[in-house]
């Protein structure tokens, strides 16, 4: 069940209704049941993997003793990493193609959301190890934290510290919450269906056959892909966060106007925040601590390793190693050169400096995203080798679709500029009722008119 589907909206409405009318102590079980149903509707028996992960991770929490805290933490890390390795990396490394009539190993697929809930489990365990109070959540609470359906498929990766305390708070139907959540969902569907969905036929056509295209086409497709993935993933995050809000939960924000980043470092504080802050807290900080006596070298080493892991989190492919390392190298460079760069920028008027910086970051991210998208190094290299400034044979696919996507994009950009760092629903709340209603009506009509309604899943489900 995709998050952009009528079935999902009906499911969410039913869960929300039950959630609000049931007695308080039943709520958690209703939500847990909903999560189980949701997962099995998506991937059937793979629900057992989720249950296995929850049980083993919680088992480790129960066996936890302060004397051997480190052992238990490492045990948990080993378990979660092995689970990821078994499903996500071993088949890819061994080069086993997926096949529905092959051996058991060939028939299996990656359990949806594995990368996300495994990271939540590890984060929880490391927090437990680091914190002074060794309080362990109750089993139902922990299970809900691991399987909460709005975020189960592709995050935002939750932290126990912020999610768990919300579970036991009494939740009544609150008009403001529900409406804020629904606005977020509508906004997310708009981004996904009107922009990402209309761009994907074009980017698919070019990226799947890079050797058929040349010149500027490849650059256009690469930029389109950056926009597509932004709209796809931030749209997904809007729906996830909005759904949680409808149920009375606050999830971590995953995007903060990333197109306005002034540096690559800044970009990764604004893009997929729940993952980038996860690797910052649980990978980068410990690494930097270990290497702190080495000064700048230590920081750079820690940065590179962190972003290597960040890249490989997306999957087992050399392209993703390069994708991660490119970010690491760029951020290291920015760390080393920050003072000189500040001087250079100070010669320019602020608005011009910002604009140039935004564009440079966007170009860099677009170049690196080619590695995120390409199925193989060969494809990525083909993309680069066939690029030139030759404008003679520009391929645009269906121009109608691109026009629809551009129109949608203009709306999102305008809203991003106006709202700044504010949350979308807060921004909308401040507008006159006429504007709010215009937003509701126009976005629903544009979804019917130009939305790509029958498109498939979100890009981030595959990671």
């Amino acid at each position: 069940m995709s998050l952009v589907s009528v079935v999902y909206l009906v499911f969410l409405a039913a869960v929300a209704l039950l959630n609000y009318i049931a007695p308080h102590k039943w709520r958690i079980y209703i939500l847990l049941l909903a999560c189980g149903v949701f997962y099995s509707l998506n991937q059937g028996m793979y629900l057992l993997i989720l249950i296995l992960s929850i049980s083993v991770n919680y088992g480790i929490c129960l066996l936890w003793s302060n004397r051997r805290a480190k052992v238990w933490m490492y045990l948990s890390l080993v378990f979660n990493i092995s689970l990821l390795g078994f499903f996500k990396y071993i088949p890819a490394i061994l080069g086993l193609g997926h096949s529905f009539d092959g051996t058991l190993l060939q028939r299996m697929v990656i359990p949806i959301g594995l990368s996300f809930f495994s990271f939540q489990a590890m984060g929880y365990m490391i927090d437990l190890y680091w914190s002074n109070k060794k309080e362990i959540a109750s089993f139902p609470d922990y299970a809900l934290f691991m399987s909460f359906f709005p975020q189960l498929l592709a995050g935002p990766i939750a932290r126990g510290k912020s999610f768990l305390p919300q579970i036991q708070q009494v939740k009544r139907f609150e008009y403001d919450n529900v409406v804020a959540g629904l606005r977020r969902i509508l906004w997310g569907i708009f981004k996904k269906v009107v922009i990402a969905g209309n761009l994907s036929p074009y980017t698919d056509a070019v990226f799947q056959n890079p050797q058929m295209h040349q010149g500027v086409t490849l650059a256009i497709a690469a930029f389109a892909y950056t926009i597509q993935i932004y709209m796809d993933f931030s749209g997904y995050s809007d729906i996830a966060i909005g759904s949680a809000k409808v149920l009375g939960f606050n999830l971590m924000e995953n995007f903060r106007i990333p197109l306005f980043a002034r540096s690559v470092t800044d970009f990764w504080r604004r893009w997929h925040i729940s993952l980038s802050s996860w690797v910052r807290d649980y990978v980068f900080v410990p690494l930097q601590y270990q290497t702190r006596r080495m000064g700048m070298t230590g920081t750079i080493l820690a940065t590179l390793v962190t972003f290597l892991i960040f890249g490989v989190w997306h999957g087992a492919n050399w392209t993703l190693v390069i994708f991660g390392l490119m970010q690491g190298v760029a951020i290291s460079w920015e760390t080393i050169s920050s003072r000189y760069r500040d001087k250079v920028w100070s010669f320019l008027p602020v608005w011009l400096g910002n604009a140039i910086a935004n564009i440079l970051v966007f170009v860099f991210i677009t170049v690196s995203a080619i590695f995120l998208r390409a199925a193989s190094l060969w494809e990525a290299v083909t993309m680069f080798s066939r690029f030139s400034l030759d404008c003679s044979a520009i391929y645009l696919g269906s121009k109608q679709l691109l026009i629809f996507a551009l129109l949608g994009m203009a709306v999102v950009l305008a809203v991003d500029i106006r709202k700044g760092e504010m949350l979308f629903s807060t921004y909308l709340e401040m507008q006159k009722p006429v504007i709010r209603w215009a937003f509701y009506i126009l976005s629903i009509l544009s979804i019917l008119l130009i939305g790509s309604i029958s498109s498939e899943n979100f890009i981030y489900f595959q990671f």
Partner: protein
């Protein structure tokens, strides 16, 4: 809760009204265009009668020249080929034709995509405007049960078409948009060096018919339902149905001699007494020349002319046999 429900109701009512107004306007503009241009082929054949129709996807649209058939067979012919369509479109087209007349002949450009489900088979944009037809509505529901919901919207049938509908309504269709009675010529010649891994494409397509995942196999049932319904519809209405399979660019002996039709599909045609002609370059030497091809799977105009005259010969003998 009450305030929420009231406002939601108000929102739905407003949406309903807007949807009705915009949807009705789009409907008027859409059906005003019966030129037969790509995207409006069904409008044309729902109104105009012909003795025979070519049916198929882009291969039909680019490879079957009605002028050749008209000359050789003495029948009026229209080419209903539309890019990216499959048997669903043929079925809908035939339903619309049968509303006004019973044609003598259907020239069917057949591929595996008419018998095996492809990921884009559920794209129904060409058919949705005709959901008022009872049988076409049933087809739409079968393809996507949620269409029961979506078709409550009057805009949805014209989803993604707003620019072309409004554009052609304002700037009136140019003469010649329908090509030569639905046939659209391609003039370039294939350059084998720019073809992307044609053999890979060939094997992939060949294997996709033999290796079906359980999900795909389930969806194959749907497409076959309409495959057989189409054949049955021709039979009960006494329409002569003749199937043809168009060659791929013969870059080597294997491509020149192997039709990309699964054995099962060929067997089904045989069992239903549908004559099938695979025009393979190794048995039709006039199709060997690479200059007749536009790309891996399409003919150019010279190719289409040669190919159509081969087909016309077969059709002549088929029609004589029938008499």
């Amino acid at each position: 809760m009450k305030r929420f429900l009231l406002k939601s109701l108000l929102l739905f009512a407003t949406i309903f009204v807007c949807d009705y107004v915009i949807g009705t306007a789009l409907q008027q503009m859409f059906f005003a265009n019966n030129s037969g241009a790509p995207g409006y082929v069904l409008n044309h054949i729902a109104e105009k009668q012909y003795d025979a129709y070519v049916m198929g996807a882009s291969g039909a649209q680019r490879g079957y020249v009605p002028a050749v058939f008209e000359q050789e067979l003495g029948l009026s012919v229209f080419n209903t080929g539309e890019a990216g369509t499959n048997i669903f479109h043929n079925y809908a087209a035939l339903q619309l034709i049968l509303q006004h007349s019973k044609p003598k002949l259907i020239i069917w450009d057949i591929t595996n995509a008419d018998y095996y489900y492809r990921h884009d088979a559920s794209k129904t944009g060409m058919i949705t405007p005709y959901h008022h037809n009872r049988r076409i509505r049933q087809l739409l529901y079968d393809i996507q049960p949620l269409n029961k919901l979506w078709l409550l919207s009057r805009i949805y049938p014209y989803n993604h078409k707003v620019l072309s509908i409004v554009g052609t309504y304002i700037f009136k269709p140019q003469p010649g948009v329908a090509g030569d009675k639905g046939y659209h010529a391609l003039n370039e010649v294939v350059n084998p060096s720019t073809l992307r891994n044609p053999m890979g494409q060939f094997y992939e397509e060949q294997q996709s018919a033999s290796k079906r995942s359980p999900e795909m196999a389930a969806k194959d049932m749907l497409i076959r339902k309409y495959f057989f319904a189409f054949i049955e519809l021709c039979r009960v209405n006494n329409i002569r149905l003749v199937a043809f399979h168009c060659p791929k660019a013969p870059l080597n002996e294997l491509l020149a001699s192997t039709p990309l039709l699964s054995e099962e599909l060929v067997l089904q045609l045989e069992q239903h007494h549908i004559p099938l002609y695979s025009i393979m370059p190794n048995t039709y030497p006039e199709m060997r020349d690479l200059n007749l091809y536009y790309d891996f799977s399409h003919l150019n105009h010279s190719g289409a002319t040669v190919y159509s005259s081969i087909i016309a010969k077969h059709l002549q003998s088929e029609l004589q046999d029938a008499r």
